[in-house]
Amino acid sequence: MNDCQLLSVSKVSKSFGGVTAIDKVTFSIGLNRIKSIIGPNGAGKTTLFNLISGVVRPSRGRMQFKGTNLVGLSPNEIGSLGIARTFQNVLLFSKMTVLENVMVGFHRTADYRLMSSLFRTKDFKAQEAAIGTGAGELIVLVGLESRMNETAGNLPYGEQKLLEIARALATAPALLLLDEPAAGLNTAEQDNLIRLIRRIRERNIAVLLVEHNMKVVMALSDEILVLDYGREIATGAPEEIKANQKVIEAYLGKGIEFARNR
């Protein structure tokens, strides 16, 4: 793989019992790029995210991030390397406030010693204040500044998704994996999300997007990878994918073709 790639996944497979969820999938994403992974339900998109973030281990294949082998690393090691993710079903620390949620993400920035937190030294207070400010900036970025001290579990769904993105950004990732960020959002919220993801890219973060909402996918993607039954069926720019026969079949079935020919 050439070295301008941030993440490269090659021939990765994962089977659960006898079911092959991911079958020899190969792709890569470069610095600062936005790539989408699409496909019908059950195509293995979320499994692919779980493989990259170390939540499940691949049965076969290789994955490299910035030249480091990811296979066999634990989720926290992968998180520390600079890959952050969100979850399809939103996993927040729901009893903590919006600000605290994002501050947790800054845990590596806070490198004060245990002793300085016990004695509440100046260094400790300065670092905590800096983390608070940093977290505040990210909350402003996603547009939740009016909710700063709200308990995360009390936010409406759309705002919880934004908070999850802010928390992921707090780890200062080079690659952000977003699992269906637009699901359940209304049109205005979708436009807002598109603007947010563009701003995230401006911060030199590459984004890998699993999404069903084609408006969002087409507006953002540099490249699209299409999966069906765990296999790659197409890769290309948005325009190419729209015209790809295999993709149309995967989404709509062969029946359309059959009907047209009659």
Binding site: V55, E100, V104
Partner: protein, 329 residues
């Protein structure tokens, strides 16, 4: 800057209350030196030390230990054996207890905390039962069911803590110091990370937090607190027997944590008070005291999900909205 300001405000709130409370506890024996109440407050203080550690583990990090009376016993027996059979300095005995408890917590925690879920509860339950049997059966070391008597009192530079009055101060200075340590810990990234892994271990891991190491360290930390409590207990009552360190006492430490209010700084104090004092106060009801005791605890838990802290919040909330802020940690 506005963010920072709010943050500091909320955090510093609990410190003035803590210092005021500590001052009250320190003054109390001078104003009201009843031997019976001093004795009871010493037991509350010893329990508070154990429960403060357990609250960190259970209330904040969400891991249940059913062996805290065991670690308490390990501290007590280490002190007892070191002082009576080996004639060591009592403080060395306490240090031995700390080391043994920390080592055993490491051994129990290593396999069980790798897993997500309540496996620590199972592992500590087994461990507690095994150690309880050892306390009873290792007669040459532990004295068997008769226990060990004649444990000397503690002393610093020739000053002996040999009266209830003196021991009260020893216990409560240690308890206040340990509460302060936990408060500072909880108000740092350690506390944030613990609460985070309690709520969603997966989300915490994905953010790069090594949840296993966190859980293990906190478990060891809380076992050390229990051992120190046990050591003080042994020096105070001077004769220990295995029945003080059984599974029922482990459950009672867990009960103190829950009744007080989990994951709240004031929880352990309120829990230790209720569980220690209530049975004494209800003695007037003779045979019925167990039923009334159980009934009160059930009522607290039914109506106040957050335990005694929740109850006090409701009362203060009615008295004044501002007062409530003090207790919100």
């Amino acid at each position: 800057m506005q963010i920072q300001h709010r943050l500091d405000n909320r955090r510093n709130n609990q410190y003035p209350v803590f210092w005021a409370f500590t001052a009250a506890v320190m003054l109390w024996p001078l104003l009201y030196p009843s031997r019976y109440h001093l004795n009871m407050m010493i037991f509350v203080g010893i329990s508070l030390i154990v429960v403060t550690g357990l609250n960190l583990l259970f209330g904040y990090a969400g891991q249940i230990s059913l062996a805290h009376a065991t670690f308490f016993g390990i501290g007590a027996y280490s002190s007892a054996v070191s002082c009576t059979k080996l004639a060591w300095n009592p403080w060395i005995g306490m240090a031995v207890g700390i080391l043994v408890a920390a080592f055993l917590a490491l051994i129990v925690g290593l396999p069980s905390l790798k897993l997500t879920g309540y496996y620590l509860a199972m592992a500590t339950l087994g461990f507690g039962v095994i150690v309880e049997i050892l306390f009873i059966q290792l007669v040459p070391l532990t004295g068997g069911p008769d226990g060990i008597g004649g444990i000397p009192s503690l002393s610093i530079f020739g000053f002996r803590f040999n009266s209830d009055f003196r021991f009260y101060y020893l216990v409560w200075v240690i308890a206040a110091l340990f509460c302060l340590i936990v408060m500072n810990l909880v108000n740092s990234k350690v506390g944030r990370n613990m609460r985070a892994l309690h709520e969603s271990e997966l989300a915490a891991k994905v953010l790069g937090i090594d949840t296993f190491r966190y859980k293990l360290k906190i478990f060891i930390f809380s076992a050390v607190y229990a051992a120190i409590g046990g050591s003080l207990f042994a020096h105070y009552i001077s004769h220990i027997t295995p029945e003080s360190f059984g599974i029922m006492h482990s459950i009672s430490f867990v009960a103190m944590t829950i009744i007080g209010g989990m994951g709240k700084i004031w929880g352990p104090f309120l829990g230790a008070c209720i569980i220690t004092i209530l049975p004494e106060a209800l003695m007037a009801f003779e045979a019925f005291h167990v039923i009334i005791y159980g009934g009160i605890i059930v009522l607290i838990l039914m109506f106040f999900e957050e335990g005694m802290v929740g109850l006090i919040n409701v009362i203060l909330g009615k008295v004044s909205i501002r007062g409530k802020k003090w207790y919100l940690q």
